[in-house]
């Protein structure tokens, strides 16, 4: 199976969230389906920040939404604290929801324009009938202060705040229920550069303060590196490479990872800028290529890449996994 396999899964007690063979497909007609996520497996240890990076169409947001069951899962297991969320329905699912919260990409769209922001932040507590009593108000004040929104503005509506402030309100809403896992889907990509750092710092602070485990999804390689302990690179619904942040950026082995790192405006020193010149267009997710999904654009592709899907395999011994038949030998393509 291509870009799949369980090699990267850790057999450790503090794994909090474990995704195995996740497949998400969206039917578009009787015959055709969009293969958004095809057999993805990974796990997240408690207190860890896992970054998922990739370009549009790689399935990273679908993975996030599938974990919180906003998307219907075609097959696979999403195991959280010993329970398979994919098997839960109705009230059972609703009861675990507070444990896994999410912050969204568009800070404006993620707040109800007709509600006051204090009500927005209190919503979670109020759903679980904890919305009364002064301690709740204190907790809301504390949360608002924590994310840098003065509680005296609680009566205002979202349109009176900037994008960065709206995103902080969204973070406060997610944290009100004291979740274990926070899923951040492109949380800073709609923000101006000068406020990105504010929000990223808050996410880091909240992680420490509330003991969060974070899944951080972004297309921005620098942002992902800044917040993540461990990183997954995805392409067209498959995992290309998993490893800790320093390894992925310091010695990338998958040709696609290297292409990404070479394409950014100030390329990583570990790759040659010419590696960013990948050819062609992203194939259609309705008819993904046979074999390795990157084979249509990969400079290293050989016959086997068109027939056999690579599995995720350990390389370099330590926590570094690549799904490639011809992983790049680090240093080989470096000048000098």
């Amino acid at each position: 199976m291509a870009g799949s396999g369980h090699a990267s899964l850790r057999n450790s007690e503090n794994v909090l969230l474990s995704v195995r063979d996740l497949v998400v497909e969206f039917p578009i007609s009787r015959k055709e389906r969009v293969h958004a996520v095809s057999g993805v497996s990974f796990d997240v240890a408690e207190g860890e920040t896992l970054g998922i990076v990739g370009e549009s169409g790689c399935g990273k947001s679908t993975v996030a939404r599938a974990i919180v069951q906003l998307n219907k899962i075609t097959s696979g297991v999403v195991e959280y604290a010993g329970t398979d969320l994919a098997q839960l329905e109705g009230e059972d699912l609703r009861r675990v929801r507070p444990e896994l919260q999410m912050i969204f990409q568009d800070p404006i769209s993620s707040l109800n324009p007709r509600r006051r922001i204090r009500d927005v932040i209190t919503e979670g507590l109020s759903i679980w009938n904890e919305g009364t009593g002064s301690w709740t108000q204190e907790r809301i004040d504390e949360l608002m202060n924590a994310v840098g929104i003065d509680p005296k503005f609680g009566d205002r509506r979202p349109h009176q705040f900037s994008g960065g402030q709206c995103q902080r309100i969204g973070i406060a809403r997610a944290l009100a229920l004291d979740p274990k896992v926070l899923i951040c889907d492109e949380p800073v990509s709609a923000l101006d550069v000068s406020v990105q750092a504010q929000v990223l710092n808050i996410i880091e602070d909240m992680k420490v303060r509330y003991g969060l485990t974070i899944l951080f999804i972004s297309h921005d390689l620098s942002v992902v590196k800044n917040v993540s302990d461990r990183i997954i690179v995805m392409y067209l619904g498959k995992i290309c490479e998993i490893g800790d942040a320093e390894t992925i950026y310091g010695s990338p082995r998958h040709p696609y990872t290297r292409a990404l790192l070479a394409s950014i405006p100030e390329p990583a020193p570990t790759v040659d800028p010419s590696e960013g010149n990948i050819i062609g267009e992203l194939p259609s997710p309705i008819h993904p290529p046979q074999g390795c999904r990157f084979n249509t654009r990969c400079p290293h592709a050989t016959e086997i890449c068109f027939s056999v899907e690579p599995t995720v395999n350990a390389v370099d011994g330590n926590d570094h996994f690549v799904a490639c038949h011809h992983p790049v030998e680090v240093g080989v393509s470096l000048p000098a």
Binding site: L70, S110, N112, P113, G148, I149, H159, F161, Q198
Partner: protein, 288 residues
């Protein structure tokens, strides 16, 4: 350290003050005054609308302020009394349409799937059924009481209102704040009531006024077919029909004209007020 700057414009102060404007209030005054007069008609110092006493076809500013009709009945009194039925069927009709159509539309737009297909089929059937035939069927089979006419008008409103409610709901149901609410653990009912209703209903509330105008005109049309409220009940539609005989139109145009003007001004006021209200309740989504 987070946001240590004092933010005087942390939230934008003095966000645009929206004003409804004097024309809106004039419209409201007209509708309100008319509604009040209609309710208080029995106690107002106007003549009895059914008494045939006065000279028939008296002109304006005679003994009767706005003249009399072919049977010598006071036109002013008949217009005020007519407002009872016209405004009555108009508002009851639209409330019915809004409640049934709105509810079905929101359910259809939120749950999608089979429910949506079913409800949409009902809407399409209603829309493709000629409205006049439907009105004829209902009023011909049932009695032509106030409630039947109001119900007819209401049923005619269900499909267009429902379709709009469905479209608005779909547009909001995909927004991230609805997903956020689901992730927090909100049940469907709560999501609909807390997150969707305010966004769907408030703009539709303004639509109520527009719909009421349409209903009032529709009552007029029914009256021409002899399908408005039966018996001695007075409505603007029936008054217009009464004043529309050829002789009246050429020599005593005021008999028809007074209720026509009343209807025109009311529908105009409803449209205008509804439109302004829609603009007024439209929320800005960003600060810039």
């Amino acid at each position: 350290m987070i946001a240590s700057v004092p933010e005087p414009n942390a939230a934008i102060d003095g966000a645009v003050e929206k004003k409804l404007g004097w024309a809106f209030w004039l419209s409201v005054a007209w509708i309100g005054g008319l509604a009040l007069a209609a309710v208080a008609a029995p106690w107002l110092p106007i003549k009895d609308p059914d008494v045939l006493g006065a000279a028939p076809r008296a002109g304006l500013f005679s003994d009767n302020l706005l003249g009399t009709d072919a049977l010598g009945r006071d036109v002013l009194a008949r217009t005020v009394w007519g407002a009872r039925i016209s405004l009555g069927v108009g508002s009851v009709g639209i409330i019915l349409g809004l409640t049934v159509g709105g509810t079905l539309g929101i359910i259809s737009g939120y749950f999608r799937g089979v429910v949506d297909q079913l409800i949409s089929f009902v809407f399409f059937s209603l829309l493709s059924f000629p409205s006049l035939v439907l009105a004829l069927l209902i009023t011909a089979t049932l009695s032509r009481s106030f409630w039947t006419v109001a119900m007819t008008l209401g049923i005619l409103g269900i499909a267009p209102i429902g379709r709009l409610a469905r479209a608005t709901t779909i547009q909001f149901a995909e927004r991230e704040f609805v997903q956020a609410s689901r992730v927090l653990g909100a049940k469907n009912g709560r999501i609909i009531v807390r997150e969707l209703l305010p966004n769907v209903l408030i703009p539709m509330g303004a639509l109520t006024l527009l719909g009421m105008g349409i209903s009032i005109v529709a009552e007029g049309s029914l009256a021409f077919l002899g399908l408005s409220v039966e018996g001695d009940a007075i409505s603007w539609g029936k008054s217009i029909v009464d004043g529309s005989q050829v002789r009246d139109l050429t020599e005593n145009a005021h008999v028809a004209l007074v209720p026509i003007v009343a209807m025109f001004l009311t529908v105009l006021a409803l449209n205008f007020a509804g439109d302004r209200l829609r603009e007024y309740t439209d929320v800005k989504e960003t600060a810039f």
